[in-house]
Symmetry: C2
Subunit: 270 residues, 2 copies
């Protein structure tokens, strides 16, 4: 079993998020310093694999990152992809949909941002918000959000068939850790812009969101597009886990440098 499979949610297996550890003592290569060191090596490996994926130009990788507020989505992107050539990585942060986006089906705006062959695309929030926030806040009735699980399943299956490796990660933090991070934002004037009063309204619905996440993950984890639940209270553990998962999936793809489309034998540069 690859190390990354530790966090993988298998199709058909029941999930109780409340019972999943948010600190993640298990499996790390050592203490904090040793794990950070191991993560650095994974970053170098990730950069190599990304270069080969880009050079090969046949397949792509889509990372879907979901978490509650202050769950660490921004920090994960910043740390895990630091060192990877930014030319081959496209990151999209999905906000509340615009009027033009709402005039389309809920997969329209995310489909426009899927990776081209050779690319890595990262969704910071995603189409999953349409079965999470849309459900919990009652933005749409159940007869609208419930069929979306099947729509997501079919769409992701299509992408996978066409050559996109799909990795879906839920950064799992505890309610206490969220409180701690909110307090840090309030205490630091350079972080005030990250904080909105609306975040507290969402926090009040903690249990509802945990339930919505649980069902979304259970209903949409597949062999082609699996969910991983990553303990994210400790940032160094989280960064190591996410790097481990990405390296594992790219190593399975094993992209290769292609030959030039031209015959290069005997060429002299003058």
């Amino acid at each position: 079993m690859a190390a990354a499979d530790r966090w993988r949610i298998r199709p058909g297996s029941p999930l109780t998020l409340a019972e999943v550890d948010t600190r993640g003592a298990d499996g790390a290569p050592g203490d904090k310093d040793e794990t950070i060191e191991a993560t650095s090596l994974l970053t170098i490996r990730l950069a190599e694999l990304q270069e080969r994926l880009w050079a090969e130009g046949r397949r792509s990788l889509l990372l879907v990152l979901q978490a509650l507020d202050a769950g660490g989505k921004d920090g994960t992107v910043k740390h895990v992809f630091r060192g990877v050539n930014p030319a081959g990585v496209q990151i999209t942060s999905f906000k509340a949909p615009s009027e033009a986006e709402r005039a389309h089906d809920f997969l329209w705006r995310v489909h426009a941002r899927t990776p081209a062959r050779g690319e890595i695309a990262v969704f910071n929030r995603s189409h999953y918000e349409d079965v999470l926030v849309a459900r919990v806040t009652g933005l749409v009735p159940e007869e609208v959000w419930r069929p979306r699980y099947d729509a997501i399943w079919a769409w992701e299956n299509h992408l996978a068939t066409e050559g996109t490796e799909i990795v879906k990660i839920f950064l799992h933090i505890s309610r206490d850790e969220q409180a701690e991070r909110f307090r840090e934002r309030l205490d630091d004037p350079t972080k005030h812009w990250k904080f909105r009063l609306a975040d507290l309204v969402v926090r009040d619905r903690w249990d509802d969101y945990q339930r919505a996440y649980t069902e979304a993950i259970e209903r949409t984890t597949t062999d082609q597009a699996p969910w991983y639940v990553v303990p994210a209270d400790r940032k160094w553990y989280r960064n190591w886990a996410v790097s481990t998962i990405l390296v594992d999936r790219l190593e399975r793809l094993d992209p290769q440098y292609p030959e030039s489309p031209d015959d290069l034998t005997g060429i002299e540069i003058t």
Copy 2:
């Protein structure tokens, strides 16, 4: 005079690319190792400035990178933006235009990829190809490409007025250095995919391209959207120069962390 102004082409000043040094002995903070060390510090500074630009969310930066084949565009992006949060940087490599792109005016596809407020966008090749390759290969007649200087001028001026800082950099290499890099690509099987026989056809028109670059730079360097000609034969000098220019321009912008749109006084997290 800021260090970055060393490479800046002033409006109205004549340019003879053949007379501009491609090695760039001048101005570096020391020898190779010392310059690489200085560049690391600039990378950290660039990451800080990008974070503030992103947080502020009012202005943006567009970096246009142009060079001949093997001029170092890919390597520059990889080295200069390593360490910068990839969530705030969007890189577009423009290839030969698709049929859909050719069905529009030449600024259409680049306009679609300009940075949103808070973002840095990098153009790896750009609308300048429409007065470079389009001119040298006779893709369009002179009555089509000649008016494009004015069109580019007006369009960039508009972007600058709307809050986009525009930085245009020509990576200037010698003909001998290009030969050296082509040979390296031929000698290394993992670099064959970067090499096309068509690159040699372009190389044969070296002087024509130098002339086309000269006129493009002279005709479109403005106070709002200046060109910089960076000596690029030595990669460590080039990386230091590009980092210096970007940090200089962002420091002039001096983006600030904004306050939260909400009143955060007295909030307790429970």
